[in-house]
């Protein structure tokens, strides 16, 4: 029952996607995280919720700093790609370390992103 309830809350923010009210969304997800954490079997779900909340906050900051509303609700990989495409390698690296993205995935993402912007020089150096 507890699990179901928490599940609903976790789903809830996703249903209201696109709403500018990030504050309540993040709170809802954090609540879900705590609910998940109360049972032993849902460690994974709890961690995912934690990361999701972190991601939303980070994306929000990125949107403020780049003044481009293109980050919220994209996945972590997409966020990294967008950062590289925009030439913001520092931000990309930050996302990478923040979420412990594996080297392998990081390379794939970087190659794809650099190909998108046809930055052949950077691709060669890398």
């Amino acid at each position: 029952l507890l699990w179901k309830e928490s599940w609903e809350t976790a789903k809830n923010p996703m249903a209201s996607r696109g709403s500018p009210l990030h504050g309540p969304r993040v709170k809802l997800i954090e609540k879900a995280q705590n609910l998940f954490a109360e049972t032993k079997e849902h460690v994974f779900e709890s961690k995912a919720a934690e990361e999701h909340a972190k991601l939303l906050k980070l994306q929000h900051e990125l949107e403020v700093s780049t003044k481009q509303p293109i980050f919220v609700d994209s996945s972590i990989s997409d966020t990294i790609r967008t950062c590289i495409v925009l030439g913001n390698h520092r931000a990309a690296l930050k996302v990478k370390t923040e979420f412990k993205v594996s080297e392998k995935r990081w390379y794939w993402l970087k190659v794809f992103a650099l190909v998108t912007i046809r930055d052949w020089d950077a691709l060669e150096k890398f």
């Binding site: 961690k47 990361e51 997409d78 995935r105």
Partner: protein, 592 residues
Amino acid sequence: QIPNLQNGPINFTSIRDQSQKELLTILKNIRGKKCLVIDPKLGGSLSLVVQTSLLKEHGAELHHLNSDPIETNCTKVVYLVQTQLHLMKFISSHIHNDTSKGLQREYFLYFVPRRAVACEKLLEEEKVHNLLTIGEFPLYSVPLDEDILSFELDFSYKECVTDGDTTSLWHIAKAIHKLEFSFGLIPNVRAKGKASVRVADMLDRMQAEEPVNSTDMGVPEINTLIILDRELDMVTPMCTQLTYEGLLDELLHINNGAVEIDASIMGANQQDGKKMKVPLNSTDKLFRETRDLNFEVVVQVLRQKATSMKQDYTEMTTTNQTVSELKDFVKKLNSLPEMTRHINLAQHLSTLTSKPSFLGRLDIEHTIVEAESYDICFEHIEEMIYKQEPLVSVLRLLILLSVTNAGLPKRQFDYLRREILHSYGFEHMSTLNNLEKAGLVKKQEGKSNWLTVKRALNLVVEDTDTTNPKDVSYVFSGYAPLSIRLIQHAIRSGWRPLEEILKLLPGTHTESKRSVFANSPSFDILPGGLHMEKPQDGRRSIVLVVFVGGVTFAEISALRFLSSQEGMAYDIIIGTTKIINGNTLTETFMDN
């Protein structure tokens, strides 16, 4: 465009006619012009039952149901819907919209196939229930072709395994029971799997409550019913189908017996990206001949036909012909449009299947099914996620890997789930959750018995000859569908010799004989196998195979191949909740 049903082993025309009559009666009883608003989900199945022109003849103006209010001059509005709550909201908003404009209309609401309390409750809450005349249109099964009945239950599998909602099972039993009213009580029933056994039970209960009177029907046309859960064999639908029809479905998606593709592919001159519908059913003679073949062979067959036609043509222009020879030639020319159609389709498929990505996919599927190099498969899926390939394709392989290994080791399971959430977004958490609940992608529990099952049923066949197939494994170029092997055994020798293997697959199994015929000696000799019963009047008996949770075209082809085998005493017809492929089935687990 509606398939001709008369040449099948059993005549489904009566089923279609009955549904058509019922629908027209509904329309006739509402006098004058009316606006018929159809649930878009139903549109496809209705088009297989009745031609739109016929509906128009009965004074119906057709609309699709959506949230927009209806623009019509008719004073009578007829809704034809499935029992979906969001559709009820549309309807009530339509009515509210009309009343706010001061429009007075009569509303009729027909549920397909039957009404549901939840829907009517919602209408009551919206205070529109009393404005509606409510009825039912009992459409339980739609003949897709001369040997296929679909119950049109898109979400049956997911509802059963993830949500625990078994309404669809009642629906299936009802559909079969309705079939028995037309073709007689089916004397032998075999079921394997939890859902199937429940369907068989419900069928018995329905027979007890509302018996099919067998005495005035003579010998039942369908001799045996085999019911199988899709859950038994989740490997087959996740593999890419390699028959002509299966491949068409995988790559272009066949919907209600037709594909929709760019007109330019079909040789039309316009380049404006216009779509056209190409019907695909057995009324098309060339398709009837080629649909079940392995695609490699189809290309050869088409090439042969084209060359022979060219030869005929040169002969025709060089020598003098008798009138009868001319006649023959003209007859051959009549098949020209079919030829062009399939050459165009095949050419398009060839460009898609020759891509390295397609071949690579077949390769990895084969490796997973072989189940001998787990690490390679795992890394392949990992890399697909990194490359952010379409999520459906990733999940499809992941299901295949998980099912053949009785789940994934916990560490890898969590790792891949995290990678998926990172790459595709956290909103897919619910998809992963659905798949876990369904047991399709899960933590490893115990040892997998896939290898045992694979070996015992000879699922991977080396040296499969796709041109002159001797075994059903030709449909996947070397893999014989587990589901089909079970049916093969059920028909040949019964399931008793297979007891040990059946135990390894989920769910119980039952074999039962229905009592109505207990006093008729010719039906008393079941035990063991069906092969002992000889069809009395030279006609082959019919086996109805019902798939609870959907069936793929490749499996249908394999069954057709079985019935066409020499020494086979049975014709096989198929009932299914829906025609599926790996993508459509996986998508039912994805929200939105």
